[in-house]
């Protein structure tokens, strides 16, 4: 049981306890080092029969199927599925744009903290290893996945200390992570994805190529979609770019067109890359978002 001396602002025990009923499952076979809840590509000692294999000298005689020998006069070894644990790599975008909040809603970074903390907690609870990488124009901070509950506390510390600043270089960072994360892992990216979808596609492809299971929480503030401004406005770039002066009445149409085009392209990239992509508006309850995510994964799990 993890006990924090100070309550973390992004942890809500009630929410976590409600979510604990649904397991966090990988959609792909994971390679863990201990037994766990997730399917493994290897044969192991679970109760679930997998296949027969010819006996070779050295095999444990206890696993010979004597009934099969009796029927066919040949030695067969009975194999069972292996269950293993998973490595959950949380990728948190801490670029300047994540600091955006409007109309009293949670900022995107706060929302992302809650999602990461919830997933980390749930994974840790089922014995999975949890690690985190904060990324902006590079990997700002990283913590490799570990199984120990004490490690989760370090993860929460990093979440707490994460400060959104600087521009986004998400595609490059994802390429780097794809190379550095050892073995198969569940990579959960929480970001506003303000980069060209076409560029992201190659990063996702890279992660998939490395057999990682990729899930993306695409965070957007409703104001960023609706663009409901009345007065002429000077927009200052939160990632340190210049400013743009625009009359919303004049530009809203084209803004909406650009947003639509972007969202369509992102959806297409997600489908083509085969990643678990979900758009999240920050006015939604994060509990629902997480529940939907977990349930969705449970339904599609079990593939090896």
């Amino acid at each position: 049981m993890i006990t924090d001396r100070q309550p973390r602002s992004f942890l809500e025990p009630a929410v976590l306890s409600r979510l604990a009923g649904v397991p966090l499952l990988a959609r792909k076979a994971m390679v863990g080092n201990v037994s766990g809840r997730h399917t493994s590509p290897h044969r192991g000692s679970s109760v679930e029969f997998a296949e027969y294999r010819k006996y070779v000298p050295g095999d444990d005689l206890r696993r010979l199927d004597w009934r099969a020998f009796g029927r066919s006069d040949r030695f067969y070894v009975k194999e069972y599925e292996a269950d293993t644990n998973l490595r959950l790599c949380l990728v948190l975008d801490t670029s300047g744009s994540m600091n955006f909040s409007a109309e009293g809603r949670l900022s995107k970074i706060d929302y992302a903290r809650r999602i990461c903390a919830g997933l980390g907690y749930l994974a840790s609870q089922q014995g999975d290893a949890v690690g985190i990488s904060c990324v902006a124009d590079g990997i700002v901070k990283t913590l490799p996945p570990r199984r120990s509950p004490a490690h989760l506390r370090l993860v929460f510390d990093i979440l707490e200390e994460a400060k959104p600043a600087g521009p986004t270089r998400l595609p490059e960072v994802l390429h780097e992570l794809a190379e550095t994360i050892r073995q198969r892992a569940l990579v959960v990216i929480v970001s506003d994805l303000f980069v060209e979808p076409a560029v992201l596609a190659s990063s996702f492809g890279h992660l998939r190529f490395r057999h990682h299971d990729v899930a993306v929480f695409h965070l957007l503030d409703p104001l960023e979609i609706g663009f409901k401004f009345q007065r002429p406005t000077r927009f200052l770039d939160m990632e340190g770019g210049g400013s743009i002066f625009a009359d919303p009445v004049d530009i809203a149409d084209r803004y909406h067109q650009a947003v639509n085009r972007y969202l369509e392209a992102m959806k297409k990239v997600a489908l083509e890359s085969g990643i678990d992509y979900g758009r999240v508006l920050t006015d939604e309850s994060y509990e629902q978002v997480l529940a939907r995510f977990l349930v969705g994964r449970a339904a599609g799990s079990g593939l090896r």
Partner: protein, 673 residues
Amino acid sequence: MTFLQPLMLAALPLVSLPIIIHLINQRRFQTVQWAAMMFLLSARAMSRGYSRLRNWLIMAMRMLAVAAVIFAIGRPLSRGWLALAGGARPDTAIVVLDRSPSMQQRSAAAADTKLDTGRRQLVESLATLGASRCVLVTDPAVKPLELASPAALADLPAAGPAAVPADLPLLLQAAYDYVKENAAGATEVWICSDQRSNDWAPENGAWGGIRDAFTKLPQQVRFQLLSFREPAEGNMAVRVTDTKLEKRGDIRALVVTVAATRQEDGERVVLPVTFEIGGVSSTVQLELTGREAVLKNHVIPLDRAAGSRGWGKVSIPADANIADNEFYFVFDEPVARKTVVVAEDPAARRWLALLAEIPPEKDQRSAAEAVAPEAFVTTALDETALVLWQGQFPAGRDAEALTAFLARGGQVVFFPPDVPTETTFAGLTWRSWANHPQPVKPVSWRTDQDLLSNTLAGGALPVGEVQVFRSCAFAGDHVPLASLPEAAPLLARVADTAGGVYVCTTTPNGRDSALASEGVVLYAIVQRAIDRGVAVLGKSRQVDAGPAAEVLTAKGIEWSRLAGPADVLSTEIGRHAGVFAADDRLVAVNRPAEEDAGRIAADDRIDGLFRDLSYTRLTGTAGSTDSLVQEIWRAFLIAMVLALIVEGLLCLPKSAGAERSPFEGLRPVEAAA
């Protein structure tokens, strides 16, 4: 376009209010920290296309709405959509009304005449314009009439139809005099006319003076010509050109020559011409194929009991213009055609007397008295129709006697003396003789009117055949009737004198010209001059309405009306057609012959008369019920409402579906794998 409240137009800069508000709004910007810059950048990179156009349209509609409100408050007036002359409410409105017979033309569709329509439109316009003073000018001889209100124009007898042609130059001169004398403020002169050449006389030299005078006036004078120039379709006019009393056995008969004219060629028609004499009417069918048909010497037997003097009326059925469908005439025993020949040169005297003595008709009596200039003073001129004078211009008592003779309508033809002196008569002075080494012949002469006009049959007099060996120049205002080469006159009429004063620049003497040997021309001159003189001598007279009819207004004679419109004021007598009697005298008043000609002055000629002046020509139609001037603020309010509706439609947000589209698919999507 004119405005009743032009000061309100000072608010027109308010039209820029939407732009100013827009600029202020632009300056009231807010600054926000923004994450999704990539969408803004790509939105800016997109073409603005329709959005930009829409913004411009919205701005234009707002400005239009403000402008429409300001114009509506300015109370705009429409004066026909084409007349966009600016100006405000006039101080004085002068109405110059052409009430000549041609203005009584009706259109085929309506019962109103041009004059009625013009008067009604003027009343409406003036009431709308609200001029503080309204003045009517219809007759140069009458002082301009100040009207209590424009409505008085509708039923004022002085603005009603008349038989007098309108002399527009004189009327405008009267208008000018009024403006000058009364120091009127901003003046608007409304001219209502049908642009007849004989009324406007565009070639009249007085126009230049009138134009200059108006240009020099310190106050603003605007001219509005309400023109009813549509031609009278199928209109016919009837006129009696000659009446003679003849005795055929013991029956007296009236021989009448009637001419029916129309203004354009048309189909052959048979016109019933009705004669009415002494309450007895008779009708004759007259066939009209071209423009004119003449019923020559129609004989109407007279009642035995009736006296030798009488009057009658000839009429044709009503048509587009009823004012020229009737003609009054009077008849009487022919008076003796007496001529006094005064000549220095015995040869000339003999020739002139001979030509004057030969009557043109067999039953006429002609007499000529030839006297030397010295004996002229003893000659009685009472019953003389013509004086033929060859010699120095009369002076002293001779001149007085001759002036009196002219004043009562007598005719004089002057021929040059052998030795010209400086004596002056009626502004005329003989200069010197010019010998022509080669005989010269007249190169041009007036065939349309006066002594040398074409014969009734239409043929020209052989004026061009007359050889002139020498001619004597003279000084004085004149209108040439026949001209020798180099514009030297052969025969001229002296302008602006009572009666008729003619000057012939050569004599019938064979050494001066072939006038006597080629006697036809001189005979025609003499006999036509006698005709003119005789016309005023008899007890019965045929006069044109207008100045010629002033015999009716002479003091001491009480005229009674025998025929003609009954509702004519005594002051208007002589301006309407009719027959009048006093003692044993009879006078028939009719419209002048030019009224029947129907020539219309071209628009550009008329416009040219007003060049350099503020002038607008409005075209009216007889019987039209439209107003010339009307307030059109409603149109501007409607324009404002329309502009606001269009602006509202343009400002409407996109449809709800389009609004929702950015949120579409914002729920998590199933992963492909």
